[in-house]
């Protein structure tokens, strides 16, 4: 096979044999776990247990793999996206414009030296916090006493329009740029690097998951999750068992999706 044919073959077969996480595997639907009365907007793994935020009921739940409630934390306002960092489960509260975390059975406040308006998500990475400041159309980065902001209201590269989720992976910051219908990638100095999903027909980018070389975006209005490789090539579209998904999280070979309208969680696994 000549080099030219090899390149052409690779280009044609890549979408078929690649997945978000491990080439050449693909995500396959495993099961859907019904949670009647729970409208999960975000999920996080902790070993075999699952953390779920249920803003409609003002609570965060810790569940086992079968959906049994292990612990319930209530009266939390409107808890939105979750982020696990070591033993802490971080969350943002839309109503009180605050960031808090759960650790050892107690809820703790996180001082934030910025004026927030409806924080939709927080991502904690060691001492660094990234906050999706929904109505200010920006990301707030806090590290110790240092505060920086990324983005401004708009539709171009570097602009944001109602950001709903944020994650950091490999020194890159990924934003679910909800009503720009895309994912945007920044470096930690605040430079906008690229846009993912601009041609993917995303209607509302509600949540993201990011890892080494892959990005998952929840396209809630289309009831699907789109897998991209790092440069933005669309690798796989997941739709089985999804009902208005708003968040995704990956642990090893397992992928978990929060179905806000479906009152359920959907599990995928690598095959």
């Amino acid at each position: 096979m000549t080099a030219a044919w090899r390149i052409l073959f690779t280009a044609l077969m890549l979408p078929i044999f690649s997945a978000c996480a491990t080439n050449p595997s693909r995500w396959v639907f495993d099961r859907e776990l019904r949670l009647p009365g729970v409208s999960p907007i975000s999920v996080a793994w902790e070993g075999d247990s699952i953390w779920v935020s249920d803003p409609g009921q003002g609570r965060i739940l810790q569940l086992n793999g079968e959906g049994r409630i292990l612990r319930e934390y209530g009266s939390l306002g409107r808890p939105m996206h979750l982020s696990r960092s070591g033993p802490r489960i971080y969350f943002s509260d839309y109503l009180s414009d605050s960031i808090r975390f759960i650790q050892d059975g107690a809820v703790h406040a996180v001082p934030v030296a910025a004026d927030l308006n409806a924080p939709a998500a927080v991502f904690a990475d060691g001492g660094l916090l990234a906050i999706a400041d929904f109505y200010h159309h920006r990301i707030v980065l806090q590290s110790g006493d240092s505060i920086r902001t990324l983005g401004r209201k708009g539709h171009g590269l570097g602009d944001l329009f109602y950001p709903t989720d944020v994650e950091i992976s490999d020194s890159l910051l990924y934003v679910a740029d909800a009503y720009n219908n895309r994912v945007q990638v920044f470096d930690l100095k605040g430079r906008a690097l690229r846009i993912l999903g601009a041609e993917a027909g995303i209607r509302v980018a509600s949540g993201i998951g990011a890892g080494a070389g892959w990005i998952l975006a929840a396209d809630s209005e289309n009831s699907r999750v789109i897998c991209f490789e790092a440069e933005g090539t669309r690798m796989q579209v997941l739709s089985n068992g999804l009902h208005y998904p708003t968040d995704i999280t990956v642990q090893g070979q397992r992928l978990l999706v929060a179905n806000f309208q479906g009152e359920s969680l959907s599990f995928y696994r690598l095959q």
């Binding site: 009365g37 003002g58 939105m80 839309y94 109503l95 409806a118 708003t246």
Partner: protein, 132 residues
């Protein structure tokens, strides 16, 4: 200004803590004067209320819907706020002497990222209000 905001947010959070909502987005606010009157057994001084139903386009998005809730809670005297994501509307009531202007409600809806599909008001509760 910050203190004012925290006070109002605290009111909302307390209302949530009382478990006023069930399954969907319900929030209730009550003035301390009314609560005090009720506790003492004295009749509330102002029982006349104006009921509102705000119909908006695209309310299914929870990030926007909870944002609308947050912004509506800024209305003076608002009580019994209920947001129906599936129905695409919000209902609430206010004392008659604190009735907000339609333009103010429209601005709140637009600031929350929606367009206003319709605004109804009545002297009687709308269906979603009756459980309040």
């Amino acid at each position: 200004m910050i203190g004012f905001k925290v006070l109002k947010t605290g009111t909302a959070v307390c209302a949530l803590a009382l478990g006023v909502f069930a399954g969907e987005m319900d929030t209730a606010q009550d003035s301390s004067r009314q609560a005090a009157a009720r506790d003492s057994g004295a009749p509330e001084q102002d029982t006349s209320r104006k009921y509102f139903r705000v119909r908006v386009n695209g309310l299914a998005c929870p990030f926007c819907a909870y944002g609308l809730e947050k912004n509506l809670l800024e209305l003076p005297g608002i009580m019994g706020l209920h947001i129906d994501l599936k129905g695409g509307f919000a209902t609430f009531h206010v004392p008659s002497n604190r009735t907000p202007e339609a333009g103010k409600i429209k601005k709140i809806v637009e600031d929350a990222g929606f367009s206003l599909a319709g605004l109804d008001h009545s002297d009687k509760p709308f269906p979603a209000d009756r459980k309040q």
